[in-house]
Amino acid sequence: MSYTVPSFRHPNLPRNELGYTSKDYEGAVSTLCAGCGHDSISAAIIDACFQMSIQPHRVAKLSGIGCSSKTPTYFLGNSHGFNSVHGRMPSVATGANMANRNLLYIGVSGDGDTASIGMGQFVHAVRRNINMVYICENNGVYGLTKGQDSATTDLGSKSKKGDPSPYEPIDLCALSLQLGATFVANSFSGDKDQLVPIIQAAIAHKGFAFINVISPCVTFNNVSSSTKAYDYMRQHMASTNTVDYVPTADEITTDYQEGTTERVTMHDGSYLNLHKLEAQHDIHSRRSALKLMKDYGAEDKVLTGVLFIDETTQELHEIMKTTKTPLRNLTEKELCPGADALEKLNNQFR
């Protein structure tokens, strides 16, 4: 790991529609271990936001506690960030979103944060369909406390220091699907080509977008006996599809072979082009997604890609019918009923 990075960037770095270079989306230098999967995910978030020409200051980054939750410092330095308490990021994100519906909320969490201490908050954030991207950087191990098994450690998987895990793992993708998540994807930190467009698709999705990213822990869980190691993932990863995010303005110029590509129109008019590698999978069917995951699992394969999407749902503000104006922008004029109204109320109490 390096403590300093050169601030020099090539003067002709490509610029996006806003005139920003990818440097404008970077954060502080990572203090994670060299080779940590989480750093690849940070890089993918930077790429996705740069390519989508997102205003960095219109993003709010939130996290809980743990190695994964440190990472919001390492991307989008011009965005406000909030490193909250262990497992409680979903509630903070919910409140933040209630107060200002016009920001893009990116939550970063880990498997300890999501599947153990924060399980209660996670499942309820899914249920409420809060408009946010929720990335679980899943390495199957507690890194900061030096290598204990987590709730997503696969049965029989063995970390560097541990015995084989005696417990059934929590499958966060399957759980999200059952809870009614409206966007569910599974990916691998070592496959940037797949991960970047998935993050873009999640950002374009209106509602709760869950991405589980297998992100190997090089220090405690990157051993041959672990199912969350680089080698294991490279050997066992299978994809249901690849995805292209197509912004509103772009026309579809490529013709894909019929029956293998499905176009999903997002709420803002952008598209996702899903190139199916698994012909039978219906991207709009939870049942199909769950079955396929089980089928692949039975063959020791880890199914990745966009597993499910429901692009027609209502997110929490729409369900609650809150005003289009962010609540934080309302003033005394809209909020305070005034002295006359209070005097009328007094009369009702006499």
Partner: protein
Amino acid sequence: MKRDIIINQFVIKFANINGTGSASANNLFSRGIFRMGVPISPKNIFPSNIQGLPTWYEVRVSESGFLGRRGGIDIMVSMNPQSMQRDIAEVDKGGYFIYDSTKPLDPKLFRDDIDIIGLPLTATCRELYEDPRQRQLFRNVMYVGSLCALLDLDIEVFKQLISDQFRGKEKLVTPNVKAIETGYRLAQENATCPMAFRVEKRNNVGNKILIDGNTAAGLGAVYGGATVAAWYPITPSTSVIDAYSKYCRTFRVDPETGEKNYAIVQAEDELAAIGMVIGSYWTGARAFTATSGPGLSLMNEFLGLAYFAEIPTVLVEVQRAGPSTGMPTRTQQSDVLLAAYASHGDTKHICLYPSTPKECFEYTAMAFDLAERFQTPVILLSDLDLGMNENMSEPLEWDDERTYDRGKILTHDDLENMKERYGRYLDVDNDGIPYRTLPGTHPTKGSFFTRGTSKDEYAIYTEIGEKYIENMDRLQRKWRTASKYVPKPIIRKTDKPCTIGVVHYGTSEASTLEALHHLNTLHGISLDSMGIQSFPFSDEVGQFIAEHEYVFVVEQNRDAQMRTLLINEYDFDPDRLVPLLHYDGSPITARFIRREIRDWILQTTTSPRRGSRFF
């Protein structure tokens, strides 16, 4: 029994079974007397149960306007055979016991030092109404009618109240009025009317209102500009959110689009509720949660984060009897220390202690200003007695000129024009309060990372000891600034120099002031008093204690928590602070306070230094 006639000075208690609709009949009784211009103070004493257990409703009628609990019962209206034995024993000598004579009174319960009045209420209901539910409901309304005759109440006032109550549902007016009239007739047929206790019309309530503290707090949140409420249901705080929700529906919904200028989230637990409040403030909206002791326990971790990361937070805490689940439907002031120092590490939080519904309204609205001014949690510490009982209160007031104090928030232009580097935790004004920015304000300036970890002035993570101390000391400076802003104590001095003072806060106020009045008029003891309104303590609090040799601290908990807080914050000699404690879950009574103070003063003349007798 030969009796004196007593006008407008008595305590009446209704013994009912919960879930039988008695609450609305009892409420009708109270409101009727209130409309007759006579001050009242009703208290619900109810179980944590939906149906079938004993519940009581105690009404203090006081021409002089004493609104605390007096102690003792003059009239018992016994409608619950389960609790009859206890209820009849509770009546003061010379009082009345009114029961449903459909079933004869057990001769073993009979007392010859009180008057016993039997009214065949159930039997009459059986004749008049077919539907069993109606029989139960109208039996309650019927005893209100009987009390009209027995207490010489103006029956027309009650008929008017019924027609006001059922405006729009006129079908219900006739049977209710019939029940009132039937009850009236039953009393005339079965008892000598009126009794010795009577109510006469007065003009003693002025423009006062009858409102519960939770409703007032909910309204305070509407007026104070809260747009996000996140909460988890818990007795006795639930009605704060009910009221907020009700008045938001009235005032905050666009009549054309139906769009709401507010959001209420029923969270999965209290941890999430406070997390949502903190998140809302982080992006810039005013938000609040309402809870009780068990919820406050769960919120500790997040309160520490809000204190340390300096995020405004507003919490309405309606205390109930602890510890643990305790007595969930009984009152106490036992979360004083928990609220003041909630969370691990060195933390402390602004607390406000309302005594009346008007203060619930004002302090709740004020809490939003204080929270944003000081970028820290503010806890309104109410209790079940104040929150869930209707209290006679000064009318609520609002100044239309008033604007919300959003505290130190940098705008886009502020940041644009800023030459120096922005530091989230820089003490620019030397008052301990730094400037904050909200997400989404400026493309390149003002962003920072909010964290619960130690950080320097620029919000950068640090474990350097000096930097940590600088930050902790600045928080302490901010705390001292806050002590100048929070409401000052209410000090009431006697005209004579006085070496003994009495300290009270919250719902101990009314009974304490009544006790002091009677100590003066009956025993010739006049004492200074101070009602503490807030934490941190302003200088006046310390001065008052310093000026008196001994100070009673009246409170409703076992461990003398406010006394502990005072000793901890001020280094007073503990012997000088005399605990006066009531903690059986019922509101403290004026008689109890008067007796305790009188006895202490009598005994201290022979053996001083009794301040530490409990410790």
